[in-house]
């Protein structure tokens, strides 16, 4: 017995658009999100304590999204953490009122993206946060990462985060971008397709130049110094393959570092449900294989937004609507939607070009593994250095599962979300295999750590369904 026609996982721009579209065509829809309010990362709602912050364009878009979703009649389960799913589909979550299981014949996964981390020496010091994490601090909490911040890594989030820090009155000691200047130029064609977004990026850049923020292209952090927190950062040049080259180092005083290397599609749910995936570097890495309606290889399982391939916030709502039309067609509801779907698909492909170009710009080439020093911690949960992982690879580990088995890399609370890409880069560096050959990590429940008592709830021992004992 289904609770809804459709369950949407994620209430960001893609998930909200999918829910609104499906509702407008008569489906019953539930939307589940971990956050207290809809909006996702890009339109994250400010904490209620922050009513005094200046409204900006993203804030206004987020408020409009929240209002439209609320008016649509979709049921929003905010503050709910999905920890398991089964095909068909059952979605198992834990919320403020305890466990929740919802069932529906269709599922749209709009789970967004996660950050790609490349460990550098000192990245485990307090004061080092991810670029995406920094946007949460700035948007939801109005908090600066530090007084004097180095913003480093790759991709468009560098300029976004740095300009937001400047706008909020903070000091950016340096922007350090591993991609060479020419990397941006190579993508200019795709960027010109979206002059409005180009202008947005140029605006960020202008704000940084006005604030006299030094921007180092073709450079990367070599060491983050400090004892109890960040005190300084040493940077140095990298070659076109992002290998550190030369000794032209400089050390910059700073008390915080925002560090990230682009976004990966969050594919835990589609992997858990056994959907096929393929490797698309232009879209951030492994993406679910989909048909024109964004249906995966698992019937009834659709994807939308950055989780289907990192294409950015402007493309996300279009993919959400496209997936919603796919769901409706599959359920045989809503008449002839082919023309509308074709139009949305055309718009979506157009708006995807910019985001995909940005995504490609952030993508580390294979040489980037050379940024990770032997003594640098790669797996933070288990305290494993690159040297330890390299030793396991030299002893025969060839997959992420092998590495996990022999070293426990990825067995901690992060479940491999923080260390997985770096570990895959190390396997690639040792074997010469490309990222596609190294393969994907397996996804297993719980999708996020869950306290045992939250899963088990209250129960009576005598009611446990104990099967017959094993043969004697």
């Amino acid at each position: 017995m289904s609770d809804y026609d459709l369950i949407v996982l994620g209430a960001g721009p893609a998930g909200a658009a999918a829910a609104i579209k499906a509702r407008s065509l008569g489906l019953s829809v539930a939307v589940i999100d971990e956050a207290p309010a809809a909006g996702g990362q890009v339109y994250r709602a400010p904490s209620p304590a922050l009513t005094a912050t200046q409204p900006d364009a993203d804030r206004e878009k987020g408020d409009a999204l929240r209002a439209k979703l609320a008016a649509s009649g979709a049921v929003l389960y905010a503050n709910h953490r999905v920890w398991s799913l089964t095909s068909g589909f059952s979605v198992i979550a834990i919320g403020p009122d305890g466990p929740l299981t919802l069932e529906a014949p269709s599922l749209i996964v709009a789970a967004g993206a996660i950050e790609r981390h490349i460990p550098v020496t000192g990245w485990t010091l307090p004061g080092v946060i991810g670029l995406a994490g920094a946007t949460v601090l700035l948007k939801a909490h109005g908090v600066l990462p530090g007084r004097r911040v180095v913003v480093a890594g790759s991709g468009p989030l560098l300029l976004l985060v740095a300009s937001k820090i400047v706008a909020a009155g903070g000091e950016v000691a340096a922007v350090v971008d591993a991609a060479p200047h020419t990397g941006w130029l190579a993508r200019a064609g795709a960027m010109l397709a979206r002059p409005d977004l180009m202008a947005k990026g140029a605006g960020w850049l202008l704000a940084l130049l006005k604030a006299r923020v030094p921007i180092h292209s073709g450079a990367a952090i070599r060491t983050i110094h400090g004892t109890d927190g960040v005190e300084a950062v040493t940077i140095g040049p990298v070659d076109r393959d992002w290998r550190p080259v030369g000794d032209a180092e400089r050390t910059i005083a700073a008390d915080a570092v925002c560090l990230g290397f682009g976004l990966l599609p969050a594919t835990e749910v589609t992997r858990l449900l056994g959907a096929e995936h393929r490797y698309e570097p232009e879209l951030g890495g492994w993406v679910p294989a989909v048909d024109a309606s964004l249906q995966t290889s698992v019937p009834g399982l659709f994807v939308a937004g950055d989780g289907a391939g990192v294409r950015g916030a402007d493309a996300a709502p279009l993919s959400g609507e496209l997936a919603a039309l796919g769901v409706i067609s599959r359920l045989g509801r809503g008449g002839d939607l082919a023309r509308e779907a074709t139009k949305i698909a055309t718009d979506w492909h157009r708006s995807s070009r910019f985001g995909a170009a940005m995504s490609a710009l952030a993508m580390p080439p294979p040489g980037a593994a050379a940024m990770i020093a032997a003594e640098t911690t790669v797996c933070r949960c288990e305290g494993l250095s690159r040297a330890k992982l390299d030793a396991a690879i030299a002893a025969g580990a060839r997959t992420l599962a092998d590495l996990k088995a022999t070293t426990r890399c990825g067995m901690g609370p992060c479940g491999g979300r923080v260390c997985g890409e770096a570990a895959a880069m190390l396997i690639g560096a040792a074997t010469g295999w490309d990222r596609a050959t190294v393969g994907q990590p397996s996804a297993r429940p719980p999708l996020r750590p869950v306290p045992l008592a939250a899963i088990t709830g209250a129960f009576d021992y005598d009611n446990l369904p104990i099967p017959a004992p094993a043969p004697l």
Partner: protein, 367 residues
């Protein structure tokens, strides 16, 4: 013409690797062919419990030998002899416990019954609702995820060739040799051992054998690191719980609760409706687990045949082909029964009798 091996083993788990090592020690030129990576199947994903209290009576002599081999492997496989306690929480379970443990004791396992007060002394953090319990000082655990790395070293040491990520798609016979077709070329050997766990049925079919092999889908869960709660291996009278806390503080919870999926589908899934009672049983036995966060639950295939005894011996009707699998308690017994199989292939009389697959097989086509 490719090299001719004396023995090709299909399956790089504990059973196949142990047999290959023994054959190579006996002078055979041996190769292990594995569709994934060494120890990536049941050998590597089981809960690692080494408990005589959950072994079948008839398999007890093999399990005791298996314990000795794991103990000898020691640190390389994360071996810990902690002793184990099996718990009964009501009268029905107490009767079951008494009846079963008496027979296992007769079979040679040093199992004794202990009082609930003694349980509380040994493990103060266990539930106080224990009505009966048994203790075996030989019990403990090892780290199953190290199986692949451990056997890789042993295989390298005795000079066995290892071919991983190599599925065998067909088996032909030509000129007295088996020819294994793989995506990367043909492997030729005069003898063949199928030791591919849940995939035994499919591999047997390549030889024209109809093996009555089915697969159970066992579930295991692990928590993040937490404060020390228990030091021994904890079990339940029904066998439906195994629980141990590793030195790093993480707690491993198993017991054979069934997930979904099959070897034919190529994967298996945790079933939340069986995971729930599995975790509840663990919580009931060790109430202090409530604050521990579960970080991962997973499943693995455990192959079996209708009588739940091993397939271990010559393949019926096919000269120089052998079968090894479906060993209930295969993690514990595997290193030993694999060695016995190696002896059989070398033409030696095994120290303990094997389990003739001929008791099931009716269709043996001479390939």
């Amino acid at each position: 013409m490719s090299a001719l091996y004396d023995l090709a083993v299909i399956g790089g788990g504990i059973l196949g690797s142990a047999a290959a090592c023994r054959a190579a020690e006996g002078g055979m030129r041996t190769i292990v062919v594995e569709q994934q990576t060494l120890g990536s199947g049941a050998s590597g994903v089981n809960a690692g419990t080494l408990s005589l209290q959950i072994k079948r009576v008839k398999l007890m002599p093999y399990a005791i030998k298996g314990h000795e081999l794991w103990e000898r492997a020691g640190e390389r496989v994360g071996f810990h002899k902690t002793g184990g306690i099996t718990l009964a929480f009501n009268q029905r379970e107490a009767e079951l416990l008494h009846e079963r443990m008496a027979l296992k004791r007769e079979a040679g396992a040093p199992i004794e019954l202990i009082t609930p007060a003694r349980v509380a002394e040994l493990e103060p953090n266990l539930s106080r609702q224990v009505v009966a319990a048994s203790w075996c000082a030989e019990d403990g655990y090892a780290n199953a995820s190290l199986s692949g790395a451990y056997y890789r070293t042993l295989l390298d040491t005795v000079g066995v060739d290892i071919r991983e990520r190599t599925p065998v798609t067909a088996i032909d016979r030509s000129g007295g040799a088996f020819e294994l077709a793989t995506p990367t070329g043909t492997i030729r050997a005069t003898r063949l051992l199928l030791a591919c766990g849940a995939w035994l049925k499919a591999a047997g079919a390549l030889l024209g054998l109809d093996l009555p092999v089915r697969a159970r889908v066992n579930t295991v869960s692990v928590t993040e690191r937490g404060p020390a709660l228990v030091g021994t291996v904890i079990g339940h009278a029904t066998g439906l719980l195994t629980l141990k806390q590793k030195p790093n503080g993480s707690v491993l919870i198993g017991g054979g609760w069934q997930g979904t999926g099959s070897p034919d589908e190529g994967r298996s899934w945790v079933d939340p409706t069986t995971l729930l009672p599995n975790l509840r049983l663990a919580m009931f036995a060790v109430p202090g687990l409530d604050r521990f966060r579960v970080v991962r639950s997973w499943t693995g295939f455990e192959a079996n045949v209708p009588d739940f005894y091993p397939l271990a011996g010559a393949a019926p009707g096919i000269d120089n082909a052998f079968l090894l699998g479906c060993v209930r308690g295969g993690y514990t017994i595997g290193p030993y029964i694999g060695t016995l199989m190696g002896d059989l292939i070398l033409g030696h009389e095994p120290e303990l009798p094997l389990f003739d697959p001929g008791r099931f097989v009716t269709t043996a086509a001479a390939a």
